[in-house]
Every structure is written in C-alpha cells, then in structure tokens.
C-alpha cells in the first residue's frame, strides 16, 4: 500500500478554512451555552417551582438524547417549527447549543449548590438581594470550582462539532470527508484529520488546566 500525502498539501486551504469553522462553531456554542447554562441552573435552583420543573425537563431531555439525533432533529424540525430557513451552520450551532447548555446547566447547578449556605447569608446580611448575592458572591466561587468540568466539556465539544458534518456544515470533519470522497485517499485524510484535531485539542486542554490552577480558590 502506498501513501500519497500530497493530497493533504493540495487541499490545505480548504482544510484550514474548515478548521476555522470548527473553532468558530466551538466558540459560538460555548458563548451561548455558558450564559444559558447559568440561567437554566439558576432557574432550576431558585425559581418558582413550575419553572424549575420546565428547566429540569429540558435538561433531562437533551442530556439523555444522542447528540447526532439532536442534530438531525434540528435539521428537519427547526425549519418547520420556526418557519425560518436556517443555514446548516446555524442549525448545527442550535443543536450543539441545546445539548451543551443542558450539560453546562448541570455543571453550574452542582457548582452553585456546592457553595455553603453561610455565603448567601453573609451577602444577604450586608443587604444584598438574592440576585446580587448570586452575581457577586456565589457565582464567582462556583465558576472557579467547576472550571475543570467546563474545560473537559469544552474539549469534548471541540471534537463533537464533527457530528454536525451529517447535515453538511463545512467544518473540519465534513470537508475532510469530502476530500476523501473526491480523491479516495482515505488513510491520508483520516490521519490528517486526527492530527489536526489532536494538535488543536491538546493545547486547549492544557490551557484550561493552567487557568484552573491560576484561579483556584482555597478556603
């Protein structure tokens, strides 16, 4: 069996652009899923009970469905449900954000719940509202505590963006598979994909480890 690595070099422009899309998709998903996760977690912990139940149902639904199913669902159902003709990128982003928000909500719920009650009481004794106490006292501590979990979610998400290739979003997996189909250089393209994902994923994981050490709070 012979290898022809020139196929990777020949398509480097397409691969670089597709890698950019993968990174953009990851960042955009987290940019939505972190604040939404905080809101869902706060609703589940502190809101009016019927709202809590809705938030819980959302989390349990999306946390227990295969992501690829959610991606297909978003592709076929979202246009009908919303009447919007969403681009594949926007559709993929919506599916990823729905899924990761559910995970982040659980992470934040655990983090917020781990801050002992006395901290809330100390904030309220100063005259803070619950909202101020959450924002100024509880959340900053919870975020530091759950940073390692958010980090591994981030790295998982970076790889899971490949699942939206099934609805033709031009990210790294989709573009690499397209090149493979055109050139029949299967092993070369799969290897190139693996190298790109790993080279990008590893430093991200290390960076987040460093952030965690840097901002760790000791009591």
């Amino acid at each position: 069996m012979t290898f022809d690595w020139s196929v990777v070099a020949d398509h480097r422009a397409a691969l670089v652009a597709a890698t950019g899309t993968t990174i953009l998709l990851t960042i955009a998903t987290m940019a939505i899923a972190v604040p939404c996760g905080i809101v869902v977690a706060a609703v589940r912990l502190y809101a009016w009970p019927p709202l809590r139940a809705i938030a819980a149902a959302y989390v349990e639904l999306f946390r227990n469905l295969p992501l690829i199913l959610v991606v297909y669902w978003a592709f076929y159902v979202l246009p009908i449900a919303t009447g919007l003709g969403l681009s594949p990128f926007a559709t993929g982003l919506a599916a990823l954000a729905l899924n990761v928000t559910a995970y982040n909500a659980e992470t934040f719920r655990a983090g917020l719940g781990s801050i002992r009650r006395g901290q809330l009481e100390a904030a309220m004794a100063l005259g803070m509202s619950r909202r101020q106490a959450l924002r100024r006292v509880i959340l900053p501590q919870a975020v530091r505590r759950i940073l390692p979990v958010l980090a591994s979610t981030w790295v998982s998400l970076f790889k899971d963006t490949s699942l939206v290739s099934v609805i033709a979003v031009g990210e790294l997996a989709y573009v690499a598979m397209q090149i493979r189909a055109q050139t029949f250089r299967v092993l070369e393209m799969l290897t190139a994909m693996a190298v790109i994902y790993w080279l990008l994923g590893y430093p991200q994981a290390k960076l987040v480890d460093w952030i965690q050490r840097r901002y760790a709070v000791t009591e």
Partner: protein, 255 residues
C-alpha cells in the same frame, strides 16, 4: 432592673415581644421578650440549642419568625424583600464561621457592601474599607486573601466588613466559638473597643468573662425561652433561677 438601664429606656433599638419560631415540631423560640437599648451590649448566653442563635438570625430576618413581634428602631420588621434589605443594611452581622468571601481580598471583602449595596464609587468604598481594616488592626493584611489569614484575623476582617456599612446595631453569632484559644483574645478586644465607642451590640456567646466584663445586660436562654435576664452582676453573682445556677456551674462558674 438597674437604674442606668431604666434611664436608657427611651431609645430602644430592638424590641422582642412574644417571639416564637418552630422547626417542625421543635419550638426553637417559645415566647421571647427582650429589649436592646441604644449603646448597650446585650449578651445572650445558655446551652447549645436553647434558641439564642435563632433569635439573632430572626433579628435580621435570615429566619422568619412564626409569632410575636420584633421591632427595629420603632417599627416591626417588614415582610417585603426590598424593605427587609434596607433594614439589614443597618444591622451588621458577624458569623461563627466568619463567612468571608474567599475569592476576594480582605480589602475587597470590606469594600463589597459599600460598593454593591450602597453603590459607593470604587475610591470611596476602598477608602472606607481601609479605614475599617485599620480599626480592627489589619491594615497590613488588606491585600491578603482569607485563606492566608488566621481565624482571628478572618473574624476581625468580618467585623470590619460589617462595620463598613455603618450599622446601627451589630449582631454577633458566637464570634469566637470557631477560633483557636490563642486568637480569641484579639477578637474580643476588638469587640470591647467597639462597645466602648458606644456601638449597640447583641452578642451570642459562650465567653462568660466577656459577658460579665463587657455586657450591660445578660439574657439566659433555655429551651427557647429567656429564663432570667438582668445586669451581669445579678446573673453571675446572684442568679435568681435554678436553671441559671445549673448552667453557670456546668461551665465551672464561679471558678
């Protein structure tokens, strides 16, 4: 009732009347009557679980009472959240477990109330925080995080944090119970200095010598009631109830 106490009766900061609080079947407070006058140090003593901390936590409505009435500066504690926050601003609270904010430095801890609650500008909040840290003798620790401070230092920062709101009354919930014996003294001397300045204080404590030396009025709790109250001289030298005598002798008092 002592004559000085009667003379101060015009200015009641806190007034408790028939206060009750239940947790399920357990009556934590079972009809408590107590007055706290301006400038007074009132010490609440008694065995664990007798209701003294519960009364303190009801005073700034961290716990809601089930019956009776608590008046602060002449009006009953409000039920509505925003009005309650306005009342809490005027009461400083110090907790047994300090509850400093671990992600903030000592200075930031003290500036947090003025900054977030009083909406002071940063410079003003920091100026006030520096002054309060100086007052508790911790100017050199302003940049330290709570984890780098001893228990006694943490509790002094917590006192500074409460004082930064310029409260009308300070509530102390067993402020020295979590401390190493060698750091208890530094916290008690800060509290004594505060009392000498005329701060109104309600102190839940197991430090009998503090209650005796600094307290103007002592209330002895048992099973959710005040079994005896009076000036420290009466409570510690001539207690009138069997329950007070039992409690004090249990602590080895008088030594």
């Amino acid at each position: 009732m002592s004559s000085e106490r009667a003379a101060a009766a015009a200015a009641k900061i806190l007034r408790y009347r028939g206060v009750t609080k239940r947790y399920g079947d357990f009556a934590a407070l079972n009809g408590v009557d107590l007055d706290v006058h301006a400038g007074e140090v009132v010490c609440l003593i008694g065995p664990s679980g007798s209701g003294k901390s519960t009364l303190l936590r009801c005073t700034n409505a961290l716990e809601a009472i089930d019956g009776g009435e608590i008046e602060f500066e002449g009006s009953a504690l409000p039920r509505e959240e925003a009005a309650l926050r306005a009342v809490r601003r005027r009461m400083g609270m110090v907790f047994q477990s300090f509850e400093l904010f671990p992600h903030l430095t000592a200075l930031e801890n003290v500036a947090e109330g003025p900054r977030t609650v009083l909406r002071a500008v940063r410079e003003e909040a920091q100026r006030r925080a520096h002054a309060m840290l100086a007052k508790v003798g911790l100017s050199d620790k302003s940049a330290s995080y709570p984890s780098a401070l001893s228990g006694g230092q943490q509790q002094r920062v917590a006192i500074a944090r409460a004082l930064a709101m310029e409260p009308d009354v300070m509530l102390f919930d067993e402020p020295t119970s979590a401390l190493d014996p060698e750091t208890i003294g530094e916290v008690l001397s800060v509290m004594k200095a505060l009392a000498d300045e005329g701060m109104t204080m309600v102190v839940v404590t197991h430090e009998m010598s503090f209650a005796r030396r600094v307290g103007d009025w002592v209330a002895v709790f048992d099973a959710g009631r005040i079994v005896e109250q009076g000036p420290p001289k009466q409570i510690f030298e001539a207690p009138t109830t069997e329950r007070t005598r039992d409690f004090l002798s249990h602590l080895g008092w008088p030594a």
